[in-house]
């Protein structure tokens, strides 16, 4: 499929987008770095693992840095999207597909065949790729590496190296720079280092990336974790309480003040990878209205699924007897149902006029959960819950959503569907934050009066597939639940039309018919009826 308007008939290569010599060297370095990992994967016994691991990760990082320096620092500051749709890697060309397949296979192996990576089972020593990472893991926490440590390390290296590239690419834009430093920091400190150090301090505590909020870390309230938290002394209890506060208190306050961007494009690890390593693929998201329809159904179904699953899982390990512990199965179920009813009622009372068609989806989701909760209550026995075992629900969710959706499709398909497939279609955390962002937040993207020229840069580069232009060309602010506030629409706008803002709730959504700049009488006549 040609991306060209009109394929050139000339014999010369039509794409004047060749890499410079420096960039070729840089790519070469990165490939050698990756090649060392591949050698390890195929069980080539590298003599000094620490040295080779250092060489490999350094080559990948330095290669990316040299590439970025040459690509951006040799040019004046400004938007750097020249040739994006001509390059094979970023326009679903051969390189794009190959990258997609490699990433996808990596995720399949990572989640389901960790033995292939060399994970030692039953206390056996690691081999292969995972063994290569043993020295680093031992340095940080004293224990051998696991496939998750390998993944976490590569993930962090990717965010740091490509974060650097992103900062250079947008070196005229401080919002992008600060935001990227933030995701780099949260990945390195919160996701990578702190959990390792916590293990050193208290090895009984479960792995806890403190910035990961339920329902993104859907497993947070499972029995083994909750037990570990409770038995983990003050720190453990603090972690458990923090986990609960995160979703019920901290998240709503920050989302009200800043929109869901405070999480999705400033803190979150999934968002962090999407914004850095995934930046070259942001324009591949589907902007059609039908994709938006699918998005709303799928993401809210995942949310319903995770609420049900978590409720069921917690329910099963709670007891019946209120004398033993105040939180019994019945109290738990009733409080979940009560909380959902409260959210639903408040929305219907105060936001009815803003809901329109979407209300139906909310209502459907709400009723599914309530009915299921009643079902749990009525039909469940000691082990069986509703119709399924809680364990079945949990493992199904873990498999379908946790592994396949967020990993294999979400990241593996970056070069095909764009970099935010998971965040847009799958993430239940994004669904909750988005619901609040749409209903109860000061955040919006302001459209600058009548200045839009409908060029389409904003929509093209929206990683969430929002048709930003559809609003901007009507002079209307953009208030969409899926917007992660990455700020790229505002950056690529050639006419200074879009601005991410936190302002008062009043007048946040402002549909107009006739735009600013025209006859005032006409504007009044048409817009204020």
């Amino acid at each position: 499929m040609s991306n060209k308007l009109n394929p050139s008939m000339s014999l010369a290569k039509p794409d004047a987008q060749d890499l410079s010599l420096k960039q070729k060297v840089a790519v070469g370095m990165g490939v050698i770095g990756l090649f060392i990992l591949v050698l390890a994967l195929f069980n080539l016994d590298l003599p000094n693992k620490a040295t080779f691991l250092t060489i490999s990760l350094s080559l990948i990082t330095i290669g990316t840095i040299i590439y970025a320096n040459d690509a951006y620092l040799t040019k004046l500051k400004g938007i750097k999207n020249d040739g994006v749709w001509f390059k094979s890697i970023s326009s679903r060309g051969t390189l794009g597909w190959i990258t997609g397949l490699v990433l996808t296979s990596f995720y399949v192996v990572l989640y389901f065949y960790e033995g292939l990576l060399g994970a030692g089972s039953d206390g056996a020593e690691n081999t292969g790729l995972i063994a290569l990472f043993d020295p680093l893991s031992k340095l940080l926490s004293g224990r051998p590496a696991s496939q998750w440590f390998v993944y976490g390390t590569l993930y962090t290296v990717a965010i740091l190296a490509f974060g650097y590239k992103f900062i250079l690419k947008y070196r005229h834009n401080r919002y992008e720079q600060i935001r990227t430093i933030s995701v780099m920091f949260f990945q390195l400190a919160f996701a990578f280092l702190i959990p390792e150090f916590m293990f050193v301090m208290n090895s009984d505590l479960p792995y806890y990336d403190l910035k990961n909020v339920w329902p993104l870390n859907y497993y947070n309230f499972e029995q083994y974790r909750v037990d570990a938290f409770i038995n983990g002394g003050t720190i453990g209890m603090a972690m458990l309480i923090f986990g609960i506060l995160s979703i019920f208190v901290i998240t709503p306050i920050l989302t009200f003040k800043y929109g869901k961007r405070w999480y999705c494009s400033w803190v979150c690890g999934c968002g962090g990878l999407a914004e850095t390593a995934g930046d070259s693929f942001r324009h591949l998201s589907d902007k059609s209205q039908s994709a938006w329809k699918i998005e709303r159904w799928v993401i809210h179904s995942v949310l319903v699924f995770v609420v049900l699953m978590t409720t069921a899982v917690i329910y099963t390990y709670l007891g019946y007897d209120p004398n033993k512990y105040w939180l019994t199965r019945d109290i738990f179920l009733f409080s979940v149902a009560g909380f959902l009813t409260l959210v639903f009622a408040l929305t219907m009372i105060f936001k009815r006029q803003e809901l329109g068609k979407d209300a139906k989806y909310g209502a459907i989701g709400y009723f599914v959960i309530i009915i299921a909760l009643i079902g749990i209550h009525v039909f469940s026995s000691e082990t069986k819950l509703f119709l399924f075992k809680a364990e079945t629900l949990r493992s199904t969710y873990g498999f379908l959503i946790g592994a396949i959706f967020s990993g294999v499709i979400g990241t593996g398909f970056y070069p095909i569907f764009g970099n935010r497939v998971w965040c847009r279609f799958g993430c239940p955390m994004a669904a909750i934050l988005g619901f609040q962002q749409r209903m109860f937040s000061r955040f919006r993207i302001t459209t600058n009066g009548g200045q839009c020229i409908s060029c389409g840069n904003c929509s093209t580069y929206c990683e969430m597939g929002i048709d930003v232009r559809a609003y901007a060309q009507k002079g209307e602010n953009i208030v969409r639940s899926s917007c992660v506030g990455c700020g790229i629409c505002s950056a690529v706008c050639p006419r200074g039309v879009l601005k991410l803002e936190n302002d008062s709730m009043k007048g946040r959504i402002n549909p107009t018919e006739v735009l600013l700049g025209n006859d005032v009488d006409l504007i009044d006549l048409v817009n204020q009826k």
Binding site: S8, S10, A16, Q17, D82, N448, T460, K499, L515
Partner: protein, 436 residues
């Protein structure tokens, strides 16, 4: 059912059609010979630069038209028979209308230069121009050098396009400084430097004498009027402005001059025939505006207005405060109200100019030196709020008020460095110098 026929599927015609649909059930047909669907003309450059694919420049998905019962017809109108209310197409077919709107936009100017019709000479306006450029300038091996003639908004966009493919560009500008017919001197000079920083060979006060052909009728070189220098090149871009695209109307009874003559209601001399957008020419200019305004926003506003008239609420075209925007390579430009360059500046208008040391940001504030009334602002590299300036212009604020409250109008992304304090200091110092 009344049949509304619109010739031209650009921003004017499409805005009109959308608004008629909102207000009524009339039958609507849009005719275009250029493309099947409406696209944003201002975005064509991004297709060549690889920022977008052509379909991204289309603001509405293809199902939109059917859903809104707007019929699209790809055809070229050859003649308009206003007596019988019929259109004659180039393929021989005809179409009857009850009301006709001419919204055919512009075409690039050609000033009779020798060689202006050679292979490899092109404007940058229609989709076909883009296809032509792709053919003649796919890369810097096929196109060793391009020469652009005419220093306006399209010229600098074409330069940016070619630059994105590393094609060397020579940019011939008739004026002594880029776009200084419109921009005040300080701004114009800053853009000159910015163009040169992008390694574009900018030649000021330079006119084209002729375009020379090779043996195949293709461009070989251009000759400069002033020096006689011959510059070898593969492509010549003619971007010396645009004029109404109305040749096919000349044979009809519709009154034309440079454009289709219209009154304030956008009505032509023939009942039920209207003209909007770039191709419409006002009998008398509105305020400081020109009789023909080839601007995206004007086309849209005329469409919004005429829809009312066509749907029974006859109202005049009364545009509000002037505004416009553009982007010069990496520097964004916005303007609100009137700021004149040297040419046509009223006696009472005087300027305050501030420029940042990095040479990519500046503003010029125009005010009435007798009354101190704020007249307008040009801003480069700093985004400003349309709504705020629109309000200040309506309220007829003084320049002092505007300078003091400038930060309220700032529209730059969060965390950007603000310069309002520097600007205000510079403004106050200037006043001190004037009084002392």
């Amino acid at each position: 059912m009344e049949h509304i026929v619109i010739i031209g599927n650009g921003i004017s015609g499409v805005t009109l059609a959308r608004h008629i649909r909102k207000l009524s059930d009339k039958k609507i047909t849009i005719i275009s010979a250029e493309t099947d669907y409406f696209f944003s003309r201002t975005a064509l450059m991004y297709v060549y630069m690889g920022h977008m694919k052509f379909e991204h420049t289309q603001p509405y998905e293809n199902w939109f038209w059917k859903k809104n019962r707007i019929e699209l017809r790809k055809a070229y109108v050859e003649q308009i028979d206003t007596d019988n209310k019929a259109l004659q197409f180039a393929n021989g077919e005809t179409l009857n209308y009850d009301k006709l709107i001419i919204a055919t936009g512009s075409k690039p100017n050609k000033f009779g230069w020798p060689g202006q019709d050679l292979n490899g000479v092109m404007g940058m306006y229609h989709k076909q121009d883009l296809e032509n450029l792709e053919k003649h300038a796919p890369n810097n091996e096929v196109c060793k050098r391009a020469v652009i003639v005419g220093g306006g908004l399209i010229g600098i966009e074409l330069a940016e396009m070619l630059n994105s493919r590393n094609i060397p560009v020579t940019f011939l500008v008739r004026e002594s400084s880029f776009w200084n017919g419109v921009l005040p001197e300080g701004e114009s000079q800053m853009i000159n430097r910015h163009i040169k920083n992008h390694h574009i060979d900018l030649r000021l006060s330079t006119n084209l004498k002729e375009i020379k052909s090779d043996e195949h009728g293709k461009v070989k070189s251009v000759v400069i009027e002033e020096t006689g220098e011959e510059i070898p090149c593969t492509v010549v871009g003619l971007t010396a402005g645009v004029s109404p695209n109305i040749d096919f109307i000349k044979s009809s009874k519709i009154e034309t001059d440079r454009g289709v003559k219209v009154n304030r209601y956008l009505e032509t001399n023939i009942p039920d025939v209207y003209a909007i957008g770039d191709c419409a020419e006002q009998h008398e200019a509105i305020g400081n505006r020109r009789p023909i305004e080839a601007v995206w926003y004007t086309g849209r506003m005329m469409g919004e207005t005429l829809a009312q008239t066509i749907c029974g609420n006859r109202i005049a075209y009364k545009p509000g405060h002037w505004f416009n925007s553009a982007k010069f390579l990496d520097i964004e430009y916005q303007t609100y109200g009137w700021v004149f360059g040297e040419r046509g500046r009223p006696d009472y208008e005087t300027h305050f100019h501030w420029k940042h040391d990095d040479d990519t940001k500046c503003i010029t504030v125009a005010y009435n030196k007798n009354t101190n009334e704020f007249l307008g602002i040009n801003t480069f590299g700093i985004r400003m709020r349309h709504e705020t300036f629109n309000r200040w212009l309506t309220e007829k604020r003084t320049v002092d008020y505007v300078m003091k409250h400038l930060s309220e109008a700032n529209f730059d992304p969060e965390f950007y460095t603000h310069f309002e304090k520097d600007i205000l200091n510079a403004y106050n110092n200037q006043l001190q110098t004037v009084t002392s």
